[in-house]
Subunit: 226 residues, 2 copies
DNA sequence: CAAAAAAAATGATAATTATCATAATAATCG
DNA sequence: CGATTATTATGATAATTATCATTTTTTTTG
């Protein structure tokens, strides 16, 4: 069992507000495990018994709409927490989380989280701020999906991938999503997504090598996203 | 200065977690006032010095997108609080709030709210849950605006108005929004909105008398909204 | 490595929605 | 009350995006 003190999640998330004692306690009750690309961490409708900390890797937060189509609401990556909202509202998960690359994750039981919230004002406040940030993100997402064109949203999605995964030494995005997944981030048909990627390539804004994507002109992509 | 104890907002919002003493304190510092239809309560980018309680009337939460078009994210009505997120994250408002009918509102200074949050665990928890609910709402909104058709979203918007305003004795929606405002809820062009309203009227699902709208077949409207 | 399967790409077409123009109706104001 | 303005409505058309069909490329697997 590794200590939580040096963990990246503690540095980046609301867990930074925990005391040394609380971190020791956390280290004792947490459960650390590996998740393979494509595996489901939890599903829409699941009862949530705790919170997941992402130590390594990236997952997609997905919601299925009434037509059976997925929407990827967000990519969640190293240092972030998953499932807070469900714990706080004592309700089933409204979203699914699916690994888009191999992950290293810790599970913290609900009782522990609620205990920390009840006993540590700072932690409680940090959690609240975290939820507020998620709310702002969701609002922006909603606005973008209401009035931006598919091309603008595609540009945003690529910038989002760049932001959460970065690039490799050759400059390719460090996260390889399928066209279908990119379409689910954009909220469009897979074919439309493919066509627009080809258009961006033609314009010299990106380069495509099979599934790998390289952003050639970041500023132009940003101005496309408005 | 009226007491906060019997106020509808206290009954319906996180303020229900405040103690008697805290309510007395609240009654002393709060500022009660009237807002006319069309008036702005606060604007995107405003520094928020407190939270607004809605005692009476309805306002729209609005965000302007980069094309200068408004999106109405939500109707906020009697018993709800406004501006919590900005207070909690110490940031400027990301949204505007504009009265769509005459309103009665109270303003609670930021210091007071933060004091209650720091001293009253229950209140703090209620506030957090409130933000979580807003997050769930925003997520659903985003999904709907990503994959539902304009007609489906119009049906949803009408149900939303019904939900927040109810009907008068004749069965007409108690809130008269302009076609332009309905279009901003739906996220579509005003003309498209008008055309679809005419279509729903033709189908006998709603009735239109100038700006007044009556829902004739609630179940059909609900099934349209999916 | 070759065969099968899956994913990506492309073409053709249809459906949806936006935009521009203009007419009809309702609301406002001197 | 009549004139002006704003809102609602409708028509014509264009733009965007989705859908279906098919081909090509890539990946997987025996």
């Amino acid at each position: 069992m590794s200590k939580c003190e040096q963990c990246i999640v503690r540095e980046l998330s609301s867990l930074k507000a925990l005391s040394k004692n609380e971190l020791v306690q956390l280290a004792q009750c947490k459960d650390s495990f590996l998740i393979k690309k494509g595996d489901v961490i939890f599903n829409e409708g699941d009862v949530m018994n705790g919170v997941y900390c992402i130590k390594q890797g990236t997952c997609k937060l997905v919601k299925m709409n009434s037509n059976g189509k997925d929407t990827i609401l967000k990519l969640i990556t190293k240092g972030e927490l998953l499932g807070q909202t469900s714990i706080l509202t004592e309700s089933k998960s409204t979203l699914s989380a699916v690994a888009v690359e191999d992950m290293q994750v810790c599970f913290i039981p609900k009782s522990e989280i609620l205990g920390f919230i009840g006993n540590n004002k700072n932690f409680s406040f940090e959690v609240t701020k975290d939820v507020c940030q998620n709310l702002n993100y969701a609002t922006d997402f909603a606005i973008n999906h209401t009035h931006k064109t598919v091309k603008e949203r595609l540009a945003l999605a690529l910038l989002d991938v760049l932001d959460s995964a970065g690039t490799d030494t050759e400059g390719y995005l460090n996260l390889q999503l399928s066209r279908d997944e990119i379409a689910s981030m954009v909220g469009t048909a897979t074919e439309s997504c493919i066509r627009l990627l080809a258009e961006l390539k033609k314009l010299g804004i990106i380069d495509l090598k099979a599934k790998r994507i390289k952003i050639l002109k970041l500023n132009e992509l940003k101005s496309l996203a408005q």
